[in-house]
C-alpha cells in the first residue's frame, strides 16, 4: 500500500487549484454502458452524468467493477461496438462521442482526448521503440515527415523529464524503468496536445516514490497545457493530492459528487463514509479498521432501489421500504448545492458529524 493511501482525510484540507470557471469541456449525461453476455446484460454504467471544465481535475473513485474505467473508456470510444451498448451523451469540446463513426472516432482519439493507462509495462508495445510509438501518435494527427515527428517526440520526452531524450528515443520500453515508462506513456498521450486527458490509475503499478513524481508531473503538465484531467483511482490519498472535484462511483452509479475538500472532509454518502473508515491511521493508537460489510454486487443483477442498500448500516434510518425499492436521485442533500449525493438519508451531514467522524482514526 502506498504512503498516500495511508494518509488520513485530515490532509485533504486544501484549496482547489483553480475555481470552476468557464463552460464544460467534457460533458457526460445519462451515460449507460451495457455488455450483453450469455449470462445476461451487465449494467456497467447506469446513467452517469458529470461535467468538467478545462484546467480542472476530476477524480473518479470506486472499487473494481464500479464503472469508473468503463465509463472513461466510453469517453474515448474504446469499447468494441459489437459487444457494447452505449446510450446517453458524451460531449467533448462540443463533439458528440456516442454514435461517432469509426473514422470520426479515429480522428477524435488522441487529438481531442487521450488516455494514460494503468500499467505502462503492458500498455506500451514491447516490439517498438519509445520514439516509434510517440511518433506514431503524432503522425496519426499531423501530416508531417518522420523527421519533424521525431523532433516533436524528443521535445515531448524532454518535457516529461526523461534525461537525454535524443538518445532514449531509440530505446525499447523494456530498457526503461517503470517510472520512465509511465513518463513516456504521458509523453505519448500529450504529444497531440489533447484538451482532455484521462489517467486510468496511472500510478498503481509504480513504486511509492515514483508515484509522487508522476502525480506531480501530471499536475505540472495540466497547468502548462491547460487541459481537463479525469483521474481514475481507488486511492483516496491520490485523490486528495491531485483532484479538484471527486466523483464516487458504486455499482455503475455515481453516489457522491462535489469539490474534493468537501467530499473527503465531510462526505454525505454511507459508501464514502465506509471508504474513509477503511483507511488505516498513520498515527495514534492502532485501532481496528471498520470495513464495509459484504462485497460489491454483481452488475448482472444490481440490487433494487439504492444499489448500496444491502451493505448500508443506515438503511433503517430511512422510513418504510424506501431504500430497497426507490433508486435515490443524485441531488443536493444539504444547503450546499455544489455537492450531490445519492442517498435517502434526511440529515447525512449530521449523521457524519455525530456518528462517523468520531470513529475515524
Amino acid at each position: 500500500m502506498s504512503d498516500q493511501t495511508l494518509r488520513g482525510p485530515e490532509t485533504v484540507v486544501r484549496t482547489p487549484r483553480k475555481a470552476a470557471t468557464g463552460e464544460a469541456y467534457l460533458e457526460v449525461s445519462d451515460l449507460r454502458v451495457q455488455f450483453p453476455t450469455a449470462d445476461g446484460t451487465v449494467d456497467a454504467v447506469q446513467g452517469l452524468s458529470y461535467s468538467l471544465p478545462l484546467g480542472r481535475t476530476l477524480a473518479i473513485v470506486g472499487e473494481s467493477g464500479s464503472g469508473k474505467s468503463v465509463s472513461s473508456m466510453a469517453v474515448l470510444g474504446l469499447h468494441d461496438p459489437r459487444g457494447t451498448r452505449i446510450t446517453g451523451s458524451i460531449k467533448v469540446g462540443g463533439k458528440q462521442v456516442v454514435g461517432m463513426s469509426a473514422d470520426e472516432l479515429r480522428r477524435y482519439r488522441g487529438a481531442d482526448a487521450a488516455m494514460i493507462f494503468q500499467d505502462p509495462q503492458s500498455s506500451l508495445h514491447p516490439y517498438f521503440t519509445i520514439g516509434d510509438q510517440i511518433m506514431e501518435s503524432y503522425r496519426a494527427h499531423h501530416k508531417v515527415s518522420k523527421r519533424v515527428a521525431k523532433a516533436q517526440a524528443i521535445d515531448m520526452l524532454g518535457r516529461v523529464g526523461i534525461p537525454n531524450p535524443q538518445r532514449r528515443i531509440s530505446s525499447y520500453p523494456h530498457e526503461f524503468s517503470g517510472g520512465m515508462r509511465q513518463r513516456a506513456m504521458i509523453a505519448m498521450a500529450l504529444v497531440n496536445d489533447p484538451k482532455l486527458l484521462i489517467a486510468d490509475e496511472p500510478t498503481t503499478a509504480l513504486d511509492v516514490t515514483v508515484q509522487a513524481q508522476i502525480l506531480d508531473l501530471i499536475g505540472d503538465l495540466q497547468r502548462d497545457f491547460g487541459s481537463a484531467v479525469v483521474f481514475i483511482t481507488h486511492d483516496l490519498g491520490v485523490v486528495a493530492e491531485v483532484a479538484d472535484d471527486v466523483l464516487v462511483m458504486y455499482a455503475g452509479n455515481a453516489v457522491e459528487h462535489g469539490p474534493v475538500g468537501k467530499v473527503l472532509g465531510a462526505p454525505l454518502h454511507p459508501y464514502t463514509w465506509g471508504l474513509l473508515e477503511s483507511l488505516p491511521a498513520l498515527s495514534g493508537e492502532p485501532a481496528p479498521l471498520h470495513p464495509i460489510p459484504g462485497s460489491p454486487p454483481s452488475l448482472l443483477a444490481v440490487p433494487s432501489g439504492c444499489p448500496f442498500h444491502p451493505r448500508c448500516e443506515f438503511r433503517d434510518r430511512v422510513g418504510g421500504e424506501h431504500c430497497t425499492t426507490v433508486h435515490p436521485g443524485l441531488v443536493p442533500r444539504t444547503a450546499d448545492t455544489g455537492r450531490l449525493s445519492r442517498c435517502h438519508l434526511k440529515d447525512p451531514d449530521r449523521v457524519y458529524q455525530i456518528e462517523i467522524l468520531p470513529r475515524l482514526p
Binding site: L76, L78, A102, R106, R107, Y108, R109, G110, A111, A114, M115, F117, Q118, D119, S122, S123, L124, H125, P126, Y127, F128, E136, S137, A140, H141, Y172, H174, M185, M188, N192
Partner: protein, 325 residues
C-alpha cells in the same frame, strides 16, 4: 552474439556426431544383409564374401565407423575388385545399388525438396496468417466459423489422401515434374505448382488455427488498446500492433515444421513424382542402401540443428527483448 553463435555451432556439431554414431550403430550393426541383397538370388558364398569385403562389412564395427568419419573429414579410398577409387571429403560413401557417391545423390535431391518446401511454406504462411488474422478479428462470426470449420475438416483428412486426390483429379494444374530453377524458372514453377498448393493449403489450415489463437491473445493485450486510443486506423492497430506481437509463436512452430519438411516431404515427393530427399530416403530404405540412408539421416540432423539456430536468431530480430547469450 558472435560468441553465442559459436557456442551453438559447437553444440550443433556434437548433436550431429551423436546422431551419426547412433544411426551408424542402428543401420550397420543391425541384422540387415545388404550384401545378400546386392548379390541377389543366384548367389554363392565366394561372391557374397567378395561383396562384403568391397563394402567393408567384414571389418570390425569400430573401424567401419572410423572409416566413415574419416571419409567425411578428409575423404577415403574404396577398393572394388582390385580397383582403387578415391572419394573426396566430405565422403559419405557410395550407394550400394546406384554406385554413385551419396553426396552427389543428396546434392541432386536437396534442391527438389527445398523448392517444394519453400514454395509450399510461402503459400501456407501467407494464407494461414491471413485467415488466422481475419478469423481472430471476427471471432465468433460467420467467417471465423467457416474458416475454422474447414480448417478442422482439412486437417482431419490424412495428408496423403489430399495429395492423391489433388494429383488425380485437379487436372487444371500443370503436370508435376522437376526442372532446375536456374535452367528454366518458368518450367520450375509450373512443375511444382501442384505440390505447392497441396502442401501449402493443407498446412495453411493448421496455420490458420495457430495464427488465430496467437492473434486473439495479442488483440486482447493492453498495448493494442493503447494503439487504438492513439487514433490510428483499425487496420494499423490489427496488422502493425497486433500481428507484430502474434507472429513470434507462429515463427516458432514454423521453424520446427520447416525443418521437418526439409528432411524430406515424403508424401508430396512420392505422389507428385518429384525426386527429392524423401523419395531418396524411401528408396534407400526399401533397398537396404545403407550409405544413402545414412546420408539422408545426417543431412536431416544438420538441417534440424541449423533451423533451430536460425529460429533463435530470428527471435532477436522479431522481439527486441530477446538477447542471445
Amino acid at each position: 552474439m558472435l560468441l553465442y553463435i559459436l557456442k551453438r555451432v559447437v553444440s550443433a556439431i556434437s548433436v550431429v556426431v551423436v546422431t551419426l554414431v547412433a544411426s551408424f550403430a542402428l543401420f550397420f550393426l543391425a541384422p540387415t544383409d545388404p550384401a545378400g541383397t546386392i548379390c541377389g538370388t543366384r548367389c554363392n558364398a565366394d561372391r557374397l564374401a567378395e561383396i562384403r569385403s568391397s563394402l567393408g562389412l567384414d571389418e570390425p564395427p569400430i573401424e567401419q565407423i572410423g572409416g566413415y568419419m574419416k571419409g567425411i573429414l578428409v575423404g577415403r579410398d574404396y577398393t572394388t575388385s582390385g580397383v582403387v577409387q578415391h572419394c573426396d571429403a566430405p565422403c559419405l560413401g557410395y550407394s550400394y545399388t546406384l554406385g554413385q557417391p551419396v553426396t552427389k545423390l543428396l546434392a541432386q535431391a536437396l534442391p527438389v525438396t527445398v523448392s517444394i518446401v519453400l514454395g509450399g511454406a510461402v503459400v501456407y504462411l501467407f494464407f494461414g496468417v491471413l485467415f488466422g488474422t481475419l478469423s481472430a478479428q471476427r471471432r465468433g462470426g460467420t467467417l471465423d466459423r467457416a474458416l475454422i470449420g474447414s480448417s478442422i475438416v482439412i486437417n482431419s483428412i490424412p495428408y496423403f489422401v489430399v495429395a492423391v486426390l489433388v494429383a488425380l483429379y485437379v487436372t487444371v494444374l500443370p503436370h508435376s515434374e522437376y526442372h532446375p530453377l536456374l535452367s528454366n524458372p518458368l518450367l520450375w514453377a509450373s512443375g511444382l505448382v501442384a505440390a505447392w498448393l497441396t502442401l501449402g493449403l493443407t498446412n495453411a489450415a493448421a496455420y490458420t488455427r495457430y495464427s488465430r489463437a496467437s492473434m486473439i491473445e495479442s488483440l486482447g493485450q493492453d498495448f493494442v488498446r493503447t494503439a487504438r486510443s492513439k487514433g490510428i486506423s483499425e487496420r494499423r492497430v490489427v496488422y502493425r500492433h497486433g500481428l507484430r506481437a502474434a507472429l513470434t509463436p507462429v515463427v516458432t512452430i514454423f521453424g520446427i515444421d520447416l525443418a521437418g519438411q526439409l528432411t524430406g516431404a515424403i508424401f508430396t515427393e512420392q505422389i507428385f513424382g518429384l525426386p527429392g530427399i524423401g523419395v531418396l530416403t524411401l528408396r534407400a530404405f526399401n533397398q537396404y542402401d545403407l550409405p544413402v540412408l545414412m546420408g539422408c539421416v545426417l543431412l536431416g540432423s544438420v538441417v534440424l540443428v541449423v533451423m533451430n539456430l536460425v529460429v533463435d536468431i530470428v527471435y532477436t530480430v522479431l522481439d527486441p527483448r530477446v538477447r542471445l547469450g
